[in-house]
């Protein structure tokens, strides 16, 4: 039982990270019907900016809460700027074209960021400095939860509550929801859709960057291609929860994280080698799209001609 709880805690920890990234995917899809392939790479950028900030501002040498906070906020701001720039220079000009064009552009941007990262930072993984004095708190039996995991849960929940407040209790949030409902009607209502789109990208990117810094505390290795697989899994999480649906993204993320860890953890006994870890998310994706394409919390709307 305690192993199960431990696995669950570990799974939910990764799941929370997936949820943070999935929120970005789901928000952008909600307003633009565009899968932002480059989102996973924003997560990577967040981690790297955090890395350089932590070293540059001396937080690496002296772990502290303040250092963590500053790094977190700094990387979120930097990623928001990058996200806004991507939208402005790469996605906006192709918005008027057919869907496949925007899709290909998104893939191009994603690969550009990844490979620029490889060229600039080199492919060798770096160790992200721990910004907390880690500690483990035993729960029962062999199960324990670490300070880092508590940090991840805490910060993520705080950010998600903040997002919830923004989306449902502010004017900007109402505008976002309006744009995701029907972009043209929102324009007719006087909403500056371009600004809202930029804001959404900024929000999503900030969340992904927070995910990046938090992951780097949990799993200290960072490398330029770290956004690919994590980004894809977060996308699967968004689809699982119902793409376009914000609580769905959170639910999807947690489920994927838990499923992945549990399958790998218990799969050893059933003969599934741990190298199949990444396949779990894709298998879930295929199952979801086959049996419930609108996702767990999504609703179906009939296609009209």
């Amino acid at each position: 039982m305690d192993t199960f709880v431990q696995q669950l805690i570990n799974g939910l920890t990764i799941g929370t990270i997936y949820a943070l990234i999935a929120l970005g995917y789901t928000m952008v899809y909600g307003i633009l019907r565009l899968i932002n392939f480059a989102h996973g790479d924003i997560y990577m950028i967040g981690a790297f900016v955090g890395f350089f900030m932590a070293h540059g501002l001396g937080f690496a040498a002296e772990p502290s809460i303040v250092g963590l906070g500053v790094t977190l906020v700094g990387s979120m701001v930097a990623a928001a700027l990058v996200g806004m720039a991507i939208e402005r220079f790469f996605y906006r000009p192709v918005r008027k074209y057919a869907r496949m064009t925007t899709l290909i552009t998104a893939i191009g941007v994603s690969l550009l960021i990844e490979n620029l990262g490889v060229v600039i930072f080199g492919n060798a993984p770096r160790a992200f400095p721990g910004l907390l004095h880690d500690a483990t708190y035993p729960l029962f039996g062999n199960a324990a939860i670490s300070k880092t995991q508590l940090l991840i849960f805490g910060v993520s929940v705080a950010l998600m509550l903040l997002l919830q407040w923004i989306v449902y209790h502010t004017k900007v949030g109402t505008a976002m929801r309006a744009v995701s409902f029907n972009l043209n009607s929102a324009k007719l209502m006087g909403i500056n859709t371009d600004a809202i789109i930029v804001f959404t990208f900024a929000l999503g990117s900030a969340l992904a960057a927070a995910g990046g810094v938090l992951t780097a505390q949990y799993n200290p290795t960072i490398y330029p291609l770290m956004g690919i697989i994590t980004g894809l899994k977060a996308f699967v999480a968004a689809v699982l929860g119902g793409i376009g649906n914000i609580p769905g993204a959170v639910l999807g993320g947690l489920l994927i994280g838990a499923a992945e860890t549990l399958v790998v953890g218990y799969g050893q006994n059933v003969g599934i080698p741990s190298t199949y870890r990444d396949a779990v998310a894709f298998a879930i994706l295929i199952l979801v799209l086959l049996f419930r394409p609108s996702g767990l919390l999504g609703t179906t709307v009939q296609e009209k001609v």
């Binding site: 490979n115 324009k187 376009g244 799209l289």
Partner: protein, 378 residues
């Protein structure tokens, strides 16, 4: 010259060209005119890439589906054919050479291996295609990517084909095989596109709902193009495996799929000559980059993938229909300006350029913005 005779002459010319090139690529060369080994290598890869690009163009360009998992089918073809040649090839060759002589036995066995690779890849295309082709663009892309990754991971875990350490394969491919199959691929795809089936595929690309309203079973045709495309990818994989003589799943990652995509995007999705052009350019590009002098110890060849992605974005921003759009570059072009029957503007709706007078497909309305046919997410 009557059309029939033209075709015979054309066929003879092509066959002779392939034989000549193959002879020139061999060590002695043809009458002393050889080709440096390095460029011979590039030529072989270009031929294989042509098969990949043309087959992917059938799915992406002519049917308008967005498959980014082509490398998975290539992998299946490679490993399936390799499994045969490694474990059964010699035994079969020996038993056959008694009957038909040694070279012919070798040819037959290799041909069989390639065909098996094609069939298995086609079956995989069927398995991937049937459930996925109900999905609209964005989702289909992710699902094909997912399937390609699953295929890769499964192959990686199969010890019988080498697993993580790789798989050594006898070297059977020479330019005769590659050239022949490249020509066959082009011919088959060209014939499909010019036929009723091709018209159905193009109509699905242009407007799937309207095609269905006209009585075209869009799922059936989409699956068809998917299976044919993946079969040829399997052939390319088989040829590739038996050329490099060493198979490792690292050759079949998303990067490979992406390279094929940029070939067809560059050449023009919807143009066979375009994909040939794109394949050749993208194959030659890294070699040209290697020839550039290093600037202060910084090798341009390392920038290969950065250049590809930047190129892709640039094409999408400036000329989304690619170099040739949907036009073909043929002998007609040399006699008169290429004109499509409907007018002389390249019809670019499939590739994203708004046609003059017809507004670009709107991005904000409800209609047509659904994830899956009949389903939308809130």
């Amino acid at each position: 010259m009557p059309g029939f005779a033209k075709r015979i002459v054309g066929a003879v010319v092509v066959v002779l060209a392939i034989i000549v090139v193959n002879a020139m690529l061999s060590a002695e060369g043809l009458f002393g005119f050889g080709v440096p080994r390095y460029w011979a290598h590039v030529l072989m890869l270009a031929g294989i890439n042509v098969i990949l690009a043309v087959s992917l163009n059938l799915i992406n360009g002519f049917t308008g589906q967005f498959s980014i998992g082509h490398a998975g089918f290539m992998a299946i073809g490679a490993y399936a054919s390799a499994y045969l040649t490694v474990y059964h090839g010699q035994a079969w060759e020996r038993s056959l050479s008694g009957a038909v002589g040694e070279t012919l036995a070798g040819v037959v066995v290799f041909l069989l291996a390639i065909l098996v690779g094609a069939v298995v890849a086609g079956l995989a295309g069927l398995v991937v295609g049937v459930p996925s082709l109900r999905l609209r663009g964005d989702y289909l892309a992710i699902v094909t990517l997912g399937f390609a990754e699953i295929i890769r991971i499964v192959i990686l875990n199969m010890e019988v084909v080498g697993g993580a350490t790789g798989f050594t394969v006898p070297g059977e491919t020479n330019f005769l095989w590659v050239g022949a199959f490249a020509v066959i691929t082009i011919l088959v795809v060209h014939n499909i596109v010019r036929s009723d089936t091709g018209r159905a595929l193009i109509s699905i690309r242009e407007d799937e709902l309207a095609a269905e309203a006209m009585g075209i079973n869009s799922t059936r045709y989409k699956v068809l193009s998917f299976v044919v495309g993946s079969m040829f990818a399997g052939i390319a994989g088989a040829l590739f495996g038996h050329y490099t003589r060493f198979l490792s799943t690292a050759d079949f990652t998303f990067i490979r799929s992406f390279e094929i995509i940029i070939m067809i995007v560059l050449g023009g999705m919807g143009s066979i000559t375009g994909s040939v052009l794109g394949a050749v350019v993208i194959t030659v590009l890294p070699e040209l980059l290697r020839l550039l002098p290093s600037v202060g110890g910084f090798n341009f060849a390392d920038l290969r993938l950065v250049i590809y992605s930047a190129l892709l974005i640039l094409i999408m921003l400036t000329r989304p229909q690619g170099v040739l759009g949907e036009r073909e570059f043929g002998f007609n072009w040399l006699r008169r300006a290429q004109k499509r029957p409907e007018g002389d503007e390249a019809v670019g709706a499939g590739a994203g350029v708004p046609i003059a007078g017809r507004p670009a497909p709107t991005g904000g309305g409800e209609s047509g913005e659904d994830a899956v046919k009949g389903v939308e997410n809130r």
